[in-house]
Point group: D2
């Protein structure tokens, strides 16, 4: 690495390796190298607006760019500017008008009581889309479309499509088909039951939702930015999510 790059180490990691570290919010950095899996990246994304190079030491690591065995070459390419930035839209989330952490992947509204389905009224820009009875509702970005939303039956959204996808979890009588809505609209999910729900943001943060809460989803003014060296989106989908299925 050439000397004009300065490397900062995140506090927790610093302690492990016996170095002096700083917390993510103290750092003024151009690039953040995460070592872990998608969870590590998603947590970092919630803490700030970084260009992220994800190094994978997990089993899938869909959002990561290189394995740990390629770390050295990756850092060299990064230092030499041999990369592109893959910019993705993020989801702005409000509960009864109060802003929450943005989501890179998805927000999941889920019944807090496993045995009890809940009813949700979904609208976009004020127009009723559907009233759904089920375990929950996922609102996902294109980046999140290949994560939890896909497990729940949702489609893949090409990252270039400026849209969100609404997918129901175990909907009774299939009253909501996965629905792709424009990112410049406002999706609202209203909890119709008195019973408790929780919301999980990017699989990292769990929020209790008050009864009758109204949760709003719009595009965030922030973006998620990934350092990419080579692989295109669908190559990644096939390798990470469907490997072995193609012959």
């Amino acid at each position: 690495m050439r000397r004009e790059h300065k490397v900062l180490i995140e506090d927790d990691l610093a302690r492990v390796v016996g170095e002096k570290g700083s917390t993510l919010d103290e750092m003024s950095i151009d690039f953040l190298v995460t070592v872990g899996g998608d969870g590590t990246i998603l947590r970092a994304m919630q803490l700030g607006d970084f260009n992220i190079l994800g190094v994978n030491i997990s089993r899938v690591g869909f959002l990561t760019e290189v394995g740990v065995e390629d770390l050295e070459g990756a850092l060299r390419n990064l230092a030499e500017g041999k990369f592109v930035i893959d910019e993705r839209i993020k989801l702005k989330v409000e509960v009864n008008g109060k802003r929450q952490s943005d989501c890179t992947n998805e927000a999941v509204i889920h019944t807090a009581s496993l045995a009890k389905v809940r009813r949700f009224r979904i609208s976009i820009d004020g127009e009723a889309v559907a009233t759904v009875e089920g375990d929950g509702i996922i609102v996902a970005t294109p980046t999140g479309s290949t994560a939890y939303s896909m497990s729940a039956g949702g489609p893949i959204l090409d990252p270039r499509v400026k849209a969100f996808v609404i997918t129901a979890l175990a909907p009774f009588r299939q009253t909501l088909r996965p629905t792709v809505v424009p990112a410049d609209g406002r999706v609202e999910v209203e909890l119709l039951n008195r019973g408790p729900c929780v919301m999980v943001l990017d699989g990292q943060q769990e929020i209790k939702l008050p009864a009758k809460a109204m949760v709003g989803f719009t595009i965030s003014e922030k973006r998620a930015r990934f350092v990419r060296f080579t692989k295109a989106f669908y190559t990644r989908v096939n390798e990470k999510l469907m490997e072995g299925l193609h012959s």
Copy 2:
């Protein structure tokens, strides 16, 4: 009703109407009339081995036989022997070898932590079926095949098929297709993670599952018995679950 029938009133209800009542387990009864929805029936089924006539005052009431407006005629038919018994298999459930309540509909094993998927190893009669990563696993009877399992993407099982259906909840990479297994086999679901799971029996009873628990499913020696006057199974499916879809 002719006088050779004796009517007992369940304790809680008795208090409401100012009568003397008895608890379900004190009663020696031929027929139990439930007033409520499916939950009422499923709870009663867990308490004993009754012939059940379900009177519906709920929104769907798939397992019920008559609406409350038809109660009088129903009781007359019951008294006059103008009915058939619709007998269904039940699921025997064991956690690490310890028997739990039987299920009329289904047992659901679910991650206790919404944000965290779990891994489950499923086998039948000792043969590995699949290792699944997801929110949970449903093992359903034919009776339960039109309930939660169907919302999760499972098929309808004709009540005459002596089988159970295993359906995964939001499985990552679709590693488990809904699978129909013979009721005389033994299904085992092994929790591979250290993280907590819960099991919900018939949507009524929630059990904590210890880490690495092994849950076994076989056919119960008990049966669920419903009093039926007229409607056949598929008529019921179409009316209750898909009404308005047929023209």
Copy 3:
């Protein structure tokens, strides 16, 4: 209707009612009133660039705006300018570089021999998306997302999303999830087998595809334009496609 509107009658219809008619391509018209179902509209769309008011005499008529019983009021509203134009993107289709009819709903590539699956290589802007074995491939507009693509498991696309959806018909081993791609990209489907395929455009026109054909899909420079009086998109989805499911 006020007198500054001139009404032309299409030839075939004219003969039936004993009037003098003209063919659609001779007419220079602002609005075309179709009487029939979606097929009637889709055929008319292939013949020219009209603002269409669809009058429904069919069973579903998802694309139509009014029933025949409301025809008089509809024509009055039309004459008085009390309507909006609902503009939708169309699909431009090329077979080995040769342009075909545009599609308002979808193009379906299908094995010509029912018993024989075919292999298709799908790419977008030159990047391989997937190689799929199955009965066929549907490329649908948002307008078509609620038609055949939905029956094949595809998501609903809000008409404001500028995207197409690629849905496989009975794909072996689920190698293609429904995939939503940007309308300004170029989708290509390459037939990998020597065996024959056919392509059906908007359910109206059937084209034989030569072995090894390359079929290209981009956004058309033309638009589909529907006269709308009141009902919004999701109201229509719920009424026409899911009626009876909402309580």
Copy 4:
């Protein structure tokens, strides 16, 4: 191979290798060794009641038992009686009362005109199950449940379950969920349209169905018998149909 086994060669193959051959129906044989894929096995099954050892030279070969590289060992095991017979139920098919070839995998009723959906009325033992609008209907055995029916969204049926599964092809408004019915019942599919349909038996044989035809499905008195050396059903499912998905 020990000398008490006599080897006959099928006519077509005999010509290729310059030997004297006989046709399958002239042979009185205990075991039939097929070299090919599933299609080869399914065709042979239609010609007689053999114990089949399938040797795979195709890409998937779900029904085959060994690869061609293991042929010698397989024949030795066969000669020495080191195998088990895996017996499966077959489907008896009647069109307007006239019996057709039995199916080992499935019968598919399909619109003959790709652009036109058809309506089908499905009943079991005289009870209406559903009226479906779509491309077609599949009735599959447990053996066929992992073939075309699965591509169309059907569940896996354990071979020990004595049942058939009815799966719709691209059903409009999802009016038929995959439905598992007892093998000792009689499934009937009635074509409601005047338009033509075709039926494909085991992917091998195509039959024109007259308008308004009534197609009946029951269990055949014949069985399909596969020579198996080692692998159990689910191992096969995971290797052949989902390989690479399990880690």
